[in-house]
């Protein structure tokens, strides 16, 4: 900054004086310490979880958080896989989440295209029906849906787990809102060039809706990965359990083996943490985008 500039803007810009430096330093130090302390408190449960998962069973209830004489038991993680079909739980969770996400994103984007970019009679009435279903608590649907699953013979099957979760009005609504913000001149231009509606959807709108699609993908994937109620009532046989159900059943059958249980919990939480750190930017943007529709 040149001398003249500083003099002109003296009134508005705070000059870097030693006094100001000191004030800034104290303020920022305080802020950092506060933030670090809160972060520390918030992640303490996770610290205990990881440390306990590495303890010997006999030392689990010791006041010290660290493994004692017996040393660090890395073998606990292997023991979990021997004790319960943990890999199967993982696989089931991933498989179901992937299928639900695929179906949800694909069919929702088609429906959203129809609602946002096509003009047809009765469109708004159908859309209102969609909106109305969004207000329903999921609990209202669970009981009749279970009876439907019994009738269709889908209880305790992957299909029965995937189908009811894959079609919701929320995804359509989110993507419709997003597609409405894409300028209509784009598909008009494509139409003049002789593109079919499918081509407009596939080549014009879909690529432009990417942020919306990513948001929906992350939401749906996480929601399904965490989902608990529906798998709990639907799944009867152990080899079909998803991660939450598997962990819960492990905690009720051998909850006394705290170290193994914590190893299992660690293994189900850590992928999420990695996922979050990797996807953090999209996630934060997505949550803020998702709420704007409110």
């Amino acid at each position: 900054m040149s001398m003249i500039n500083t003099q002109v803007e003296e009134v508005h810009v705070h000059e870097p004086t030693p006094e100001r430096d000191r004030r800034q330093f104290i303020g920022k130090t305080g802020l950092h310490i506060l933030l670090a302390c809160i972060s520390f408190m918030l992640i303490l449960p996770f610290v205990w979880m990881v440390l306990t998962s590495l303890k010997n069973l006999g030392e689990v209830s010791d006041p010290s958080w660290l493994p004692g004489e017996a040393g660090w038991q890395w073998s606990n993680y292997l023991a979990v896989f021997e004790k319960i079909p943990f890999a199967t739980y993982y696989w089931n969770s991933l498989l179901i989440a992937a299928w639900v996400t695929f179906l949800q994103v694909f069919t929702s984007s088609l429906a959203a295209f129809s609602f946002a970019r096509l003009k047809w009679r009765g469109r708004d009435k159908v859309f209102f029906l969609y909106l109305a279903t969004m207000m329903l608590p999921g609990l209202v649907l669970m009981i009749p849906n279970y009876q439907i699953m019994i009738t269709l013979g889908l209880v305790d099957t992957m299909t029965g787990l995937i189908l009811p979760a894959a079609f919701t009005a929320f995804g359509t609504f989110l993507l419709r809102q997003f597609m409405l913000s894409i300028p209509s001149s784009l598909d008009e231009a494509a139409e003049i060039d002789g593109a079919s509606k499918w081509r407009i959807y596939w080549d014009v709108i879909l690529p432009l809706s990417r942020p919306g699609l990513i948001t929906l993908t992350i939401f749906t994937f996480l929601g399904t990965y965490h989902s608990f109620f529906w798998p709990l009532v639907m799944l009867k046989s152990e080899h079909k359990y998803t991660l939450p159900i598997g962990i819960l059943s492990f905690s009720s059958t051998s909850g006394q083996e705290t170290n193994l249980l914590m190893a299992a919990v660690t293994m189900s939480v850590v992928p999420l943490i990695i996922l979050f750190v990797v996807l953090q930017k999209q996630l934060v943007a997505g949550i803020q985008l998702g709420a704007v529709k409110g």
Partner: protein
């Protein structure tokens, strides 16, 4: 052109794109809804009517399920549980707001020198911590010092990453509890809460022993006076809220109809205090005094024949926000003063001398607060925090500059600039959390306590699950679900009616 008219063709194309989704929605959403309404009016019971029974016994019973809901005490108890658990919502929102405000401060200072100092200090701290750690490990050995060393290294590590990486580091750490919240973390908390072996109680027990020694040594009037101090504070908060609401009413910011429920809500903590340890007589006297003051003020305002500048329901949102904030404070004061007042009695309890750590999930009184603590842990860095963070960055800078020119203090700046600008976000979060709170709590209840002890932690969602999937009374279960829907519907329409208007203000 084909022979099909264009408008018809458009409908076909539209429906063709819609088809994959709408078939699923019709089959798994719309049809179940219709079925569920029908079920709610029947006595469908899996023990009497299932597909293996030759002669199904299914009757239409009209509103009997609903009548039963409101006459049997179960629903009332579980609804109260739900409401109790929902009292954690304002606390969580407040924490999310504070976290967002902290995170929105730029941790890198604008003066390069200050930042350099900060970095140097952090590295200095880190090297000191490492040095001390190594020394401690040498002196008292792995078992004695290991845990201290670990925690110290952890906190200074966080600090270092924070100084180098800025807010993203803290935001990530803040967000982790809410991001991972689910059955696995609840299983983790169940272990943390274990009354004998869990880390919470193994830390609390020695601390409480020391505390009881201190309490024993202090004179007893110190604690009994806490009751009156607490009471005075609550009365002051109540009075402040009432006067603020009245001022808003006189200024035409809030309608007369909207003012009444918010005023009543302010009195709620006092009513609770009546139920708790406070002397009933004084509380009643206070309430009556308030009622008299209120009536006098209202009568005077009406007598003055002033113009009512706004419609009855106007400003409902801002009234609720004010009251929510004050209620949180009132509850905190109430809780702290009640605990302090009862400390000597608890310490000198002949059947159980000294303070003992609570049984957490296993005790009737502590089970719900335990769950609220978990909810609070997950609420600090939740999506709500991210929403607040986005809203805070959207506050126009000019407003702050204007406030600075007027020489506003930080506190005044917050109340007069930030808080009003955040109001739409706060309102949105409040409504969404209320809806979520009404139908939530199932995962926690199922994985932590299975609804117990003695139904203390059964929210409505768990009740529906129990009736529908455990006892098999499908009709009854559907009826409960629809009552829940009606509540949510009411809140949603309320939101449409007042939320948007408030947001536009």
């Amino acid at each position: 052109m084909s022979s099909i008219p264009k408008s018809r063709k458009n409908v076909y194309t539209g429906l063709l794109f819609l088809a994959p989704n709408i078939i699923g929605v019709l089959l798994f959403v719309v049809f179940p809804v219709v079925l569920s309404i029908c079920m709610a009016f029947t006595d469908w019971d899996l023990t009497k009517n299932n597909r293996y029974k030759a002669d199904p016994d299914l009757n239409f019973i009209g509103f009997e399920n609903f009548v039963r809901l409101f006459t049997e005490h179960e629903f009332t108890q579980y609804f109260q549980n739900t409401l109790f658990l929902m009292m954690g919502i304002p606390f969580g929102m407040g924490a999310a707001l504070v976290a967002a405000i902290l995170l929105s401060q730029n941790p890198k200072s604008d003066s390069a020198k200050a930042h350099k100092w900060l970095k140097m200090c952090t590295f200095g701290l880190l090297s000191v911590v490492l040095g001390v750690s190594i020394a401690m490990l040498f002196v008292s050995g792995y078992n004695g010092a290991g845990m201290m060393v670990l925690l110290m290294c952890l906190i200074s590590g966080i600090l270092m990453f924070g100084v180098l990486g800025g807010n993203t580091v803290y935001r990530t750490l803040f967000y982790l509890p809410s991001f991972t919240a689910g059955v696995p973390t609840y299983v983790l908390w169940k272990k943390l809460y274990n009354p004998r072996t869990g880390p919470i109680n193994t830390t609390l027990t020695p601390a409480l022993e020391k505390l009881s020694a201190v309490v024993d040594a202090l004179p007893i009037w110190l604690f009994t006076s806490c009751r009156w101090i607490g009471f005075g504070l609550i009365a002051a908060l109540f009075g402040y809220g009432i006067s603020k609401l009245l001022k808003m009413w006189r200024d035409g910011e809030i309608g007369s109809v909207a003012m009444l429920p918010t005023m009543l809500a302010l009195g709620l903590p006092i009513l609770l205090a009546l139920k708790w340890s406070y002397t009933a007589g004084v509380s009643w006297a206070l309430l009556i005094a308030c009622a008299i003051i209120l009536t006098v003020l209202v009568v005077r305002a009406v007598k003055a024949k002033r113009d009512f500048t706004c419609a009855g329901f106007d400003g409902f949102g801002s009234g609720i926000l004010l009251v929510l904030g004050l209620m949180v404070l009132e509850f905190i004061v109430l809780g702290v003063s009640t605990v302090l007042t009862n400390l000597p009695a608890m310490v000198s309890d002949p059947s159980d001398p000294g303070l003992s750590a609570p049984d957490w999930l296993g005790s009737y009184e502590w089970a719900k607060p335990s769950m609220m603590i978990i909810g609070f842990w997950a609420a600090i860095g939740s999506n709500n925090m991210l929403l607040y963070l986005a809203a805070l960055t959207n506050v126009p800078k000019q407003l702050y500059e204007a406030a600075d020119i007027d020489g506003a203090s930080r506190w005044a700046r917050f109340w007069n600039v930030t808080w009003p600008q955040l109001a739409p976000t706060t309102f949105f979060i409040a409504v969404m959390s209320t809806i979520g709170g009404l139908q939530g709590g199932f995962e926690m209840a199922r994985s932590l306590t299975n609804g117990g002890p003695a139904g203390a932690t059964t929210p409505i969602s768990f009740f529906i699950y129990n009736e529908g999937f455990e006892t098999g009374r499908l009709g009854y279960s559907a009826a409960i679900a629809w009552v829940l829907f009606l509540m949510i519907f009411t809140i949603t329409t309320f939101n449409w009616k007042f939320g948007n208007r408030y947001v536009n203000d």
